[in-house]
């Protein structure tokens, strides 16, 4: 079945991320001056304001920072509700948003905060594979 949810459109600034995703890799931006990782992609490092940024392949691992269960949604997501959204603390630093997989939206549990997660990629179109995070056994 065709992917029926919003499909992100890569921009020149974010193209390396989406190229990585298509290859099944989580590729993140990092500042070569202060060495800190930031998400989302920037024109300048938000920590030291250097313009010397690079892309690198991250571990694809992290932990749930916080989450919610969406009972109201629109478009393709409406058919999937309820579903769990979560902010993920990346092992390398900073945070990404995801729809969390591997949990039951019907019985939310505060213990999911801190759970270990791993990234996976779903092909939404030929060129855009969207990262989703899945809870792995704690």
């Amino acid at each position: 079945m065709a992917y029926n949810k919003p499909i992100p459109e890569p921009s020149p600034l974010t193209q390396p991320f989406w190229d990585g995703a298509k290859a099944g890799k989580l590729v993140l931006p990092r500042c070569t001056n202060c060495n800190r990782v930031h998400w989302y992609p920037r024109y300048l490092c938000p920590f030291c304001h250097s313009a010397d940024l690079e892309w690198f392949e991250a571990s694809g691992e992290g932990r749930v920072h916080t989450f919610a269960v969406q009972h109201r949604a629109f478009g393709g997501w409406a058919e999937e509700a309820p579903f769990v959204t979560a902010y993920i603390d990346l092992n390398e630093g900073d945070r990404m948003l995801t729809v969390l997989r591997g949990v039951d939206p019907k019985s939310p549990d505060l213990s999911w905060v801190g759970a270990r997660v791993r990234v996976e990629f779903e092909p939404a179109s030929e060129d855009v594979h969207i990262p989703f995070w899945r809870v792995v056994q704690a």
Partner: protein, 403 residues
């Protein structure tokens, strides 16, 4: 003789983006902003981190977030091509007043490039807006839509960190509804104004339909129409009017992020910084506040903000409502109009806060069946007013005092 503001500040640098005109490679508006900002920082030797006031035609929160800044003065005046001259005027006043030291006035507009690429990179938001906007690429893909879908994450984190529960926050909805029963213009005033109006219980809040767990419908504000306006003038004019003045003793503003992706601590907002500035200007502190008008888009917004304003300890904001202090007759009445939760919330609720704070401090909060019923007028002589915008992103705080 020159006026007081004359020469109170100087323009110390001016720069442009790396390529302008018809760039060889299409550029985004954000990119043009950031290049120019980097260049003017290099030119003057003033690090970007020293910028504490941001002035741009609609872009200020995005720029601050992109640069990781938490500005003390945020101006997005956008009234056409003259906006930037106005920004300089406003910056002059803000620097003269000692609110900021370094003002950034920034412009980035991809009039040529965006035409070549179907509006992409223009930075215009909303449905049908810029698909390259970072929020569109990295948030919309995951089904978040509307404020409850975002704010719910803050309640979960608060529950995790402080051991609080959704039931604790439900007390905020219950007490706020009690105030609404004293306001005939509140949507949820009574069964006459709404089929589900009138008093509610904690159980009813807990058992209402889930919108975004842990938020049920009764943790969420209304969606209504509203129009409001205030007039502000100098003491001389204020003294000659038929209405009572309410004095602006303190004011402050700040922001921590624009997109919730960039919210470092989901249990804290920039209201800590904006209220610190407001208290300092007023020469007053939380202990001097006799009532509060706190933006309550959700129960969790009000609970966390009460903590940020210093009205309660971290993790204990909800106790102001649970222990009855915020109720009619309590020691610290809060949201005496019935709040965004039960009175009126049109999308941007800050004006409703101002109208009610004025009424309370001018003694007109129950002068008739229009602004309030008997029992709504408090004895408060001071009020802290805090507006929250975006996704717990931006805050503006006022300390208002009665004449």
């Amino acid at each position: 003789m020159p006026g007081e503001l004359s020469r109170a500040a100087a323009i110390v640098g001016a720069a442009e983006a790396n390529e302008i005109g018809y760039p060889e490679k299409n550029k985004t508006a954000l990119q043009l902003h950031i290049e120019a900002i980097k260049n003017v920082s290099d030119q003057t030797g003033i690090p970007i981190s020293r910028i504490d006031g941001i002035f741009s035609a609609g872009w200020s929160s995005e720029l601050a977030e992109h640069l990781g800044l938490h500005p003390k003065y945020i101006d997005t005046t956008s009234v056409g091509g003259c906006s930037f001259e106005m920004h300089v005027h406003h910056a002059l006043a803000a620097i003269h007043a000692g609110i900021i030291d370094v003002a950034l006035v920034s412009h980035g507009e991809s009039g040529w490039s965006s035409r070549n690429i179907g509006g992409r990179g223009s930075g215009r938001g909303g449905p049908g807006g810029d698909p390259w906007a970072l929020g569109t690429q990295f948030s919309s893909a995951y089904g978040l839509s509307g404020a409850p879908s975002n704010y719910s994450h803050a309640m979960t984190r608060h529950n995790h960190r402080f051991g609080t529960t959704p039931s604790d926050f439900a007390h905020i909805a219950v007490v706020t509804r009690e105030w609404a029963t004293l306001n005939p213009r509140a949507v949820m005033h009574s069964k006459e104004t709404h089929p589900f109006g009138g008093p509610i219980t904690v159980d009813e809040v807990n058992n209402a339909r889930l919108v975004a767990w842990p938020l049920t419908l009764l943790h969420c504000c209304l969606v209504t129409d509203h129009g409001g306006a205030v007039l502000i003038t100098n003491p001389e004019i204020a003294r000659g009017l038929k209405t009572k003045p309410v004095w602006i003793a303190g004011a402050g503003e700040n922001m921590s992020h624009s997109n919730m992706l960039e919210m470092e601590d989901f249990t804290a907002t920039s209201a800590a910084a904006s209220s610190a500035a407001a208290y300092k200007m007023a020469g007053m502190g939380p202990e001097d506040m006799e009532m509060a008008m706190i933006y309550d888009s959700f129960t969790v917004t009000a609970g966390i903000t009460a903590e940020m304003l210093g009205l309660a300890k971290r993790g204990e904001g909800f106790t102001l409502w649970k222990d009855g202090h915020a109720r009619p007759g309590g020691r610290l009445p809060i949201n005496t109009n019935g709040g965004g939760l039960s009175f009126n919330h049109s999308g941007m609720y800050g004006m409703q806060l101002l109208v009610e704070a004025y009424r309370q401090l001018s003694g007109t909060a129950e002068d008739n069946n229009f602004s309030g019923l008997k029992g709504k007028q408090t004895k408060a002589r001071s009020c802290i007013v805090n507006g929250t915008g975006g996704s717990l992103s931006t805050t503006g705080t006022l300390v208002l005092v009665a004449d």
